[in-house]
Amino acid sequence: MTIAGQEHTAAVKTARLRIWRGTSRDNGRYQEYDVKFEDGDSVLDGLVRLRVDCDPSLAVRFSCFNANVCKECTMLIDGTVEYACIAKLQPRLMQLDPLPNLPIVRDLVTDTLSRKERF
């Protein structure tokens, strides 16, 4: 038995993501990507697709995926602290930065771990 395909035709839109790339606040730059999406898709959906389809070097932290449970995907979205897994993609330029006031590990990943949980 096969599973019925997605027969609906939702409008495909494009978000332009302006993403911080680098290993510290002094050593990095912004890189822009166009990401296609359907209404309702999250910023994390876009980042995951971007890693698969376009740039596997982009560092993003998450584990639960769109359930807002693991809290790992916290980042700055247009200057506001948000969870990428529940923030919605918009058909415009959106700027993504690592969390402020924390050391940057790489790209959108900051060192959010307790000191005693690290080597």
Binding site: H8, T23, D45, A59, A67, N68, V69, V105
Partner: protein, 564 residues
Amino acid sequence: MSDELAVECDVLVVGGGGAGMFAAVAAARNGAQVLLLDKNVVGRGGATIMAQMTCASALGESEPDNPQLHLEDTLSAGRGLCNENLAAILCEGSPERIRELAGWNVNWARSEDGKINQVKAPGHSRKRCVYVDFLSTGAAICAALRNKTSRDGKIRRLSNVTVTDLVLRDGEIAGAVGIDVPTSAPVKIKCPAVILCTGGMTKMFQRTTASNNLCGEGIGLALRAGARIIDIEFLQFYPNGHLAPRMVGLDPTTWEPTRVKLGGRLLNGKGEEFLHRYGEAEGGSYDTARDILTTAIYKEVEAGRGSPHGGVFLSFQHIDEQKLKDALGPVIEIFERNNINLTRQAVEIFPIAHYQMGGVEVDSDLCSTVPGLYAAGEIAGGANGANRLSGNALPEAMVFGERAGAKAAQYSARNTTSRWDDKLAQPHVDLIRQTAERNSGDGPSPGRLMAEVKALMWGKVGAFRNGADLETARTRLRTMRQGDLDALTIAPEPGFNTSLVEWFELRNGLLAAEALASAALTREESRGAHQRDDFPAADDRFLANQRMQLEGNDLVSEFRKVRA
């Protein structure tokens, strides 16, 4: 790449979900120095934290009950394939763990007289399932265990460390090798005992209810260490998985507790009730077992009566708006943020990969066929047979986690002479370094291959299977494991290199996925969660456990009659 890191412990726990944290606590209180690792964040990933409501425990608070009755229901759901010893350990051990968690400030929902509330979940003969609330029971358990593990001086927690290989000496555990993800440094862990608490392999399917980090790595690690796995073909599909419209901020399992609580109606694409066509009473039955409900939904879609996205409708439109608001509380705001108004529209649902019944073959100490290697939680095979009873995953994580932790601590106390040898670990360390340097090829990224695996498993190794599809999947997975994997290109990043982590996820996960496809092909019958269109009935010849091992590069299986 950074220099190697080295650590020692008595008991290594791989995976910081419910089972892993419980194992760490139990090993520590049995005297062991414990290292608790998670490739994401200890206590934040895995499946337990995603669990919404039901946790089965024969406490007998809401009505008379006992573990023997719980066991009978578990065996009945398992369609003849349960390991009765393990199932009994689960059922008998659950009440003690529930009360222990109450002592660690898990606020089980209680009635006015102070008794713990219990509800009757599908497949249970009694009101048996305890909960904190109807959406965040697992999260409450994880919060208590995070707290417990962080305050214990004998437990060292390390997050963002992934285990890539077990190190063996003369067929016994000597330690493990892994990667410190933020720095990509190889990590050597010397220890006499390892407990795998890495969960199932739901990540290998396109649509899944669990966290994104459960890709069968523990199965791959165990097989390559020489351990045997059992009944890996049985993967439960959760019938009420959210399908459409797009919804974020809630686990896709949301609808089962909501439906049970409020009485949602399941309707086909024409707006008709359909469960009665599959042997259920008209008017919406809420105690339909998961495998039967999954069958009903699949068959309805196959008959051309599906919803627009290829599922069925779940409707709450017959329920008064105020009653909906009262029952759902703050959750209704999450629905609103997703433009879902339950008083005006039905949502679409379809079965979704949920839970792996099979896993590492363990004895009643939760020890695998490899001395020093233990497994607990979803990765431990046997207790649930061909179909897991609703509410048995959380007690399995706690009871097996606790037992494995205690037994592994006792084992390590008896095996104090280290079997570690740097020479044995070196090939595993070298593989990490070599893989990190595969930056120059023009092959695809690990993420892209993973996307192909997920589509393949979803399309060909789903809830309904046939020989041709399974053969195609098995062949492709084998080629991926033995060919594609070596042609992948790793991003040239020194730290937090997710493509390096994904390569090792694939290395172990592909072995797990191939084992599943292969075992599903060999089991030529339909039973529980394993449904074959070409063998639609249960067959007594297969009233047997399928045991599988890696011999050289091949997965080899045999059936053995279920032991009484």
